[in-house]
Structures are given as C-alpha cells and as structure tokens.
C-alpha cells in the first residue's frame, strides 16, 4: 500500500472535531483510561487499535457520553462532553441536553444493535421521526435513499433477523447516517462478522471516508487502517502508546508493545 491510494483531504480546519486532554475513566477501583490526550481533525479517519481491554472502546463511548469520564476534559466540535463550564466550575448536563448533543454523533456497534421489532427501513427512520420530528413520509423516502446507498434498498421491508450480519451492519450505518451526524463512531464494526462479510461493511465505510465524514474507528482491520486511515493511535493499558500516520506506525512501529501486538494481528 502506498500513499497514492489515499485521497488528500483538506486538512486543517482550525477547530479539531474531537479533543481529549488527560481523559480518565475508572469503574470503581479499576482504572480503564489513564489520561488520554489526542486530537481528531475534521474529515479525518482516525483509527484506534490495541489489544482487548486496552480501553479503546471505552474511550469511544466517552465521546458520546455513553460513559462518564472521571477526569480530564473532552471536547466534541469545540463543546465539552457531558458538562457545561460556568466560570471555573463544571455543571453536569441534563439528560435532555446530552441527548441533543448525541444527535450529531452517529455510532455503529460491534453487535449491530438494530431494533429487532422494526423492519430495516423503520430502523433507519425511527430517530429522524422520533427525535427530529421529521415528517414520516419524507423520513421514509430519505431512509430508502440511505438504504439504497448501502446497497440494501431491496431489503427495506425485512426484519433484522432476516438479514445477514453484514447486511445488518450496513443497515446500522444507514440508521446512524439518517441523523446527518458530523462525526461517526465505529466500535469494532466488523468483529462480529463472518470473514466473507467484512468486505461489504468496509466498502461502505470507505465510501463514507471518501465523502469527507469524520470517523473514529476502533478496529482490528489493519488493512483498512492502512488504506483508509489518516491517523492511528495504538492504545494499551489505558494509555496511548504510539500514534501517527497509520502507514508509518503499522510498518515501522517504534515501541516494543506496538511491535508485539502487530506481530500477532498482522
């Protein structure tokens, strides 16, 4: 893989999409994140890799406040996550305010988490109708277009149980896109898939990246990270061990821990 496979992006909007400063998270006495510092720029595909238990999924879930951080600061698009700053004091946000901010952040889960009692198209139109009070017919039309885009227009009337894993994950991506997010979070989107189904999901994600969507991807797909990623962070034991351009980190890792991990997964 060479740099030629990547389309260049307009790199520097001044404001980073996500900024973390010394983010800590612990469950009781177990410290899962021990001070994470990083920046995700606009339109960047940002890959988080590392062994399981390294805290990468936890960090991802902190970004849309599914997990509450215990220390440090975390900003999305210039705004604090989960808190409001008044003077030098932080005030917790109300559930309603948190929900309002989550509208702009799409999330795709390892186990799809489609709503099993709704058809594919109902899954996609649920949030626009319920959260944004969009007109039902218009939302359905837009949802059909999104399903078309992930190649599943003919499966619109199917329930999730009637779809393959790869198809379910593509519906889940369409569902997240229906809220027109400015940031997409992917939590090991292909880890629960049969090997021959991984490609179809990565293709959809590649398409999104080409359109300039800002994406944070927790993944074990090093091929995808190398080919599509703009930045890569290797995490282990709740800290960032190494970061940089994915092609450099993956081919020439500087730290022993990174090398040990990569020798197992590559």
């Amino acid at each position: 893989m060479t740099d030629l496979t990547k389309t260049p992006r307009d790199a520097a909007s001044a404001e980073p999409m996500v900024k973390a400063e010394g983010v800590h998270k612990s469950y009781g006495l177990v410290e899962v994140l021990k001070g994470i510092d990083l920046e995700v720029r606009q339109s960047e595909v940002f890959c988080l890799v590392g062994p399981s238990g390294s805290g990468k999924s936890t960090f991802l879930r902190c970004i849309n406040h599914l997990e509450k951080i215990n220390g440090g600061r975390l900003w999305v698009d210039g705004e604090l996550v989960g808190y409001r700053q008044k003077g030098d004091r932080l005030h917790e946000l109300k559930d309603r305010e948190v929900a309002l901010k989550r509208r702009d952040i799409g999330m795709v889960f390892q186990r799809f988490n489609l709503f099993p009692h709704m058809t594919a198209v109902e899954n996609v139109m649920e949030a626009p109708v319920q959260v944004k009070r969009e007109n039902k017919a218009a939302a359905r039309e837009r949802s059909m277009a999104l399903l078309e885009r992930v190649g599943l227009a003919d499966k619109a009337g199917n329930y999730p149980s009637q779809l393959s894993g790869g198809q379910q994950q593509r519906v889940a991506i369409a569902r997240a896109l229906a809220m027109k997010p400015k940031l997409m979070l992917f939590d090991e989107p292909t880890s629960a898939l049969d090997p021959e189904l991984v490609g179809e999901v990565l293709d959809v994600m590649r398409g999104l990246a080409e359109e300039g969507m800002t994406m944070i991807v927790v993944t074990h797909e090093m091929g995808f990270a190398r080919e599509v990623g703009d930045a890569l962070v290797f995490m282990d034991g709740g800290v960032v061990v190494e970061s940089g351009n994915p092609r450099e980190v993956l081919t020439n890792p500087q730290h022993a821990r990174t090398r040990a991990f990569l020798s197992k997964v590559l």
Binding site: R96, P116, Q162
Partner: protein, 324 residues
C-alpha cells in the same frame, strides 16, 4: 444394471420401499383404557342424579347469573386495566435511578403483594368506617371539598380498587422482568441516536419486553377472572355471588356450581385464544416466520396441503402492521 449408467433418457423412479411399520400395541391398549375411563366418567356425569342437569341448564339461563357474567367481565377487564397501567408505571419507577421513585414503588409492591387480596377488598369496602369523609384541602389546614367515603366508594369501586391495586403490584414485577430481559445494547443504540429516556422506553424497550410480559399477563388475566369471585365477601353480585345466592336459597349447590363453572371455563377459553393472537403479534421480528394461526392450520388441513410457510414479505394478519 442401473438405468442411468446406460444413458436412458427417461429417469426411472426406484420402487418405493414396502416395509412392515413398527407396531405400537401399547398405544392401542392405552387408547382403549383411556376410552373406557372417559366413557365411565361421562356416564357418571350424566346419570348421577346429584348433578341434576336440568337444574344446571335452568341455572345457566337465570337472569341473575347472566347479569353476574357481565359484572365478572367488567371487573376483570377494568381491574386488569388498572393492573397493567399501574404495573408499567410501578415497574418504570422501580427501575428509575431516582431513589425516591424506586423506594416508593418498592414500598407499594411490598404492601400490596404482602397482604391477602381478601383483606384488601374488605379494607376498601369498609374504608368509610375508618375515615368517614374524604376531603381535598391544604394538608393540616382548611378543606375545600369533602364527601362521605361510602358515597364516594360504592361496592363496585371498592371491588375494583381491591383487585386492581393488588394486581398492579404483581404486574409491576412482571413488567420489570420484561424490561430487564431486553438487551442493554438496545437502550444504548437508542440513546446514541439522541432518543430520550421516555422515547427509548416507549418505542424500543417496551415493545420488545412485551414478548416476555404477555404470557404471564395472560395468566394473570385468567387468574383475575376467577379471583373476582372473592368479591363475594363484600356482596357484589358477580357470577360466583349470583350462584351462591341461588344455592343458599335452593340448596342445589352442585348443579349451580357446575353451571357457573361452565361459564368460567367458556370465558377462560376465549381469553386463551385472545392471548395466542397477542403473543403472535409481539413475536414479529423475533421469529423469522410466524407460526400459522389455528384458523390457517384448519384451512390447510382441509385443503390437504401444509400450512403456509410465511415468507419474510408477507406476515398474515400483519399486512397493515407497518410494512413498506
């Protein structure tokens, strides 16, 4: 030898195997024994004069009995309605992160599940003996409105309160079990989409919890239908009390009890069928294909072909149910 090896164009079907099937002499013997026992039972029922079938028939046509059926049904439906609505509210309170709400719900369930429903019925009926008047006003201050308790809570209302509030406590635990059976990933996905706690509960969690909630609720409804007979202690004339009044007058206890039991059985049968269809409705999405309805099964039996395997596009009986 093999025709296909010789390149014969028309395929020859192999001769079907003609084997002697395994005999089941035990089944035949068992069937005969059961038939004889059933015949004995029917004979005993019909020809034992104690049953007095003419009195049974007469009782079943009695006006007070017919009226009693109406009251029983009314009580069952209304108290189950109170039970389900109250149960959902209590379950949500119980699961709330707010300690005030969950504590209140816990206390309610503790009281109403922990005392006999018979006692609760009597309590509501004799509320007037404890507090003669009920009033609205400033706590420990002046009253704006006051009414006699007995006028406010007639016997039927007392019965409804006793049965409904008690049922709510049981339903709360059933609903809580249903809510907790839904995968946590569902709540997370809904929250990640920006849905509020209420919308998540109403649109995502409860519809899925229904699959777990409906079967025990059907059970509760059937149980309630018969529990309504307890209101005899406060002399509300539903089906059982109507029967009781008749046999305490005529001393024809057995035929009257048989008559009302036939009605109870009839009503529970109807409820069972209803429950089947409700369960089937909430199974959508959970099963790839829905099982055929009894009616479809019956039809296919006469048509002589297997019951329809419903494909993913057509779910019979649900065509209007939110398909594209």
């Amino acid at each position: 030898m093999n025709p296909s090896e010789k390149g014969v164009v028309t395929p020859v079907r192999p001769e079907p195997i003609k084997a002697v099937p395994v005999r089941h002499p035990g089944r035949w013997a068992g069937a005969i024994i059961i038939l004889v026992l059933a015949a004995m039972l029917v004979h005993a029922l019909i020809f034992n004069p104690a049953f007095q079938w003419d009195v049974v028939r007469q009782t079943m046509q009695d006006d007070t009995i017919i009226h009693g059926i109406g009251v029983t049904l009314e009580l069952t439906v209304l108290s189950m309605l109170m039970g389900v609505v109250g149960g959902v509210i209590l379950a949500v309170m119980r699961l709330s992160p707010n300690p005030l709400l969950s504590g209140t719900a816990w206390f309610y369930i503790w009281i109403f599940r922990g005392t006999p429903v018979l006692v609760q019925l009597v309590f509501w009926n004799f509320l007037g003996a404890i507090w003669e008047n009920l009033s609205i006003g400033i706590p420990f201050g002046p009253e704006f409105w006051s009414e006699s308790t007995n006028k406010l809570i007639p016997t039927f209302t007392a019965a409804l309160l006793g049965l409904g509030l008690n049922e709510a406590a049981y339903m709360a635990e059933i609903v809580r079990g249903g809510i907790q059976s839904v995968d946590e990933g569902q709540t997370e996905a809904a929250h990640a989409l920006g849905m509020s706690r209420t919308a998540t509960l109403r649109r995502i969690v409860l519809p899925q919890a229904m699959r777990v909630i409906v079967p025990p609720t059907g059970n509760e409804t059937i149980s309630m239908l018969k529990t309504t007979s307890l209101v005899q202690v406060i002399s509300l004339s539903e089906l059982f009390t109507a029967g009781h009044d008749i046999y305490s007058r005529t001393y024809q206890t057995i035929p009257v009890l048989v008559a009302i039991s036939i009605y109870y059985l009839l009503m529970t049968s109807i409820l069972t069928v209803g429950q089947y269809y409700i369960e089937r409705y909430y199974a959508r999405g959970a099963n790839r294909t829905l099982p055929p309805t009894p009616f479809q099964r019956l039809r296919s039996l006469f048509a002589g072909r297997p019951a329809p395997k419903t494909g993913h596009d057509v779910v019979p009986g649900l065509e209007g149910g939110g398909h594209v």
